[in-house]
Subunit: 339 residues, 2 copies
Amino acid sequence: MSRKDRGLRGLETAAVTLQDVSLEAGVGASTVSRVVRKKGSVSPPTRDRVMAAIQKLGYVPNRLAGGLASAGSNLVGIVIPSLHNVVFPDLLQGVTRQLDQTGHQAVIAVTDYSKEREEALIASMLAWRPAALMVVGLDHTPGTRRMLAASHIRIAELLDLDGEGIDIVIGFSHAQAGRESARHLLSRGYRRIAFIGRDFANDTRSGKRCEGFRSVLRAEGLDFVAIEQLEGESSTEAGRAAAGRLIERHPSIDAFFCSNDDYAVGALFHCMAKGIAVPGRLGIMGCNGLDIGRSAPLPLTTLLTPRVEVGEMAARLVFAQGPAQRVAVGFTLVPGATA
Amino acid sequence: MSRKDRGLRGLETAAVTLQDVSLEAGVGASTVSRVVRKKGSVSPPTRDRVMAAIQKLGYVPNRLAGGLASAGSNLVGIVIPSLHNVVFPDLLQGVTRQLDQTGHQAVIAVTDYSKEREEALIASMLAWRPAALMVVGLDHTPGTRRMLAASHIRIAELLDLDGEGIDIVIGFSHAQAGRESARHLLSRGYRRIAFIGRDFANDTRSGKRCEGFRSVLRAEGLDFVAIEQLEGESSTEAGRAAAGRLIERHPSIDAFFCSNDDYAVGALFHCMAKGIAVPGRLGIMGCNGLDIGRSAPLPLTTLLTPRVEVGEMAARLVFAQGPAQRVAVGFTLVPGATA
DNA sequence: TTGAAAGCGCTAACAT
DNA sequence: ATGTTAGCGCTTTCAA
């Protein structure tokens, strides 16, 4: 028996340890460790014996022990608001694609747009001593900011630029996105515009786009005809319903500015079903250029945001040496056929 | 100095340990441990002193150490093929909602539909000694099956029922789903049907639905007019393009059976744009009832699958005592307006 | 190139 | 109710 407490019966199949492998291979523990981590020099014959023992025993290294001993893990935490908005899967794809290159592993947590849940999840991630942590946006509870600042690991805050960051910030200005959207709709002659978006309390970036848009309207002596804040996961169904409600309450509306493409496609579906002419009678503009918007019967006018690239860049920068920094990425207004 | 090697300068801010807290609070280490884990009894005054010390020092427990000492973590691994198909975010939502109740934390990994990547990811997860592991489907590499069987933790295989499982299996038969879809389309009078789905090599469940459908066709002396296997993330755009190609090559096609709603909506968009009458000239049927299908101008005929529920059930069953088991969940054919 | 030994920070008996 | 003492399985000097 290789471990004292393994008992007399071969039945007690406790996990195979590095110790077991070293005994089987007739080498020291550190040699096995070197082989497993491909670090330090090991003679080819020794390596072969160790590999054979690993195979034979079906050894799986215990990273809890490894991380503890080496004071760190290959984990990278990434905390996002939702998985039901393609923006975030896209972001994750960029992150993991890049992380794979460096042998890191992403650990994903979802806040459901709750700042309190975000704080709890980040505390929980930090307990795993990740190599770096990524979060979405710049707006956090004071407790979250304190934890992140005190964590002694690289922190990347993604997809926003309106506010103070803690360490690395990669994103664009949602206020500016809102302003450009406003200028586009105004230039197309729309004047009685309504906003459809997530509730600002939880989705602050939605609120920033709304405010940016509004500032341009006000400069023209205008304002939103209505602002509809939706709770729950964004969806075409919710957008469709909201569009219906708004048109009923404010028949004079001549355009919708939607805080994402799901809502915008929903609004478009409402108009198609009701026979409302788009973009003639009513203009629709989305944000975050989703696949669905591009292939809709009427391609959606929207704002294309580079979230895969933001993810990749984040995964690169958190492991680059260097001071805190802000990286501004661009976005593109894509004129479709709906506004 | 609480730790020998902390050095002379207060600058060396190594992470605060439980030891530090116990010294600060003037109690033993295990007392702090009890307070942190809310386990065992601690007198209110002592608890307060410890809490104060934790606050003051900004202590974050190290779970690497905790897990190592207690031989196990509160992590639950969950390995899914993709995040770009709403089915999987839905599944995750069910899982995490339930896991939250029990203080467990989901660790998500994405295979991009590659069985080899799945094997590598599972090996990597197992190294973290998760409390349980969930995977999608029943088709894995021999290496994966071996690892899972040898892991000594509960394994749940989700969203499939056609094949042998390792431990817990929760899902429905994709072959049956295909057969019911076929009977529906045939009952509506469609005879020249084409299949649009992901490539079977990677998405075996797509293949099973196709084969199930086909078996019914053959019983009627029919077969698919064409089978289009798409690679890459499923999307409306891909579905739209595929529909266009198929109609061009096989003008006699009178219906599409799509392996998911994204493709089906894409096909619908193609028809709307080209003025092809749906469901008169062409029928369209999807699978996996997405939001987008319900709110489309023409509600999609589709198969509704209970993936949130499967996720919840999985998170419950992996922590229930009991033998291996198979749970069959139902699915519902939702007749929309497209077939 | 290899091995021995000392922890990493915590939990889990076991005392008290 | 609280403290003491062994480890958990690995990595990492440091010798050999």
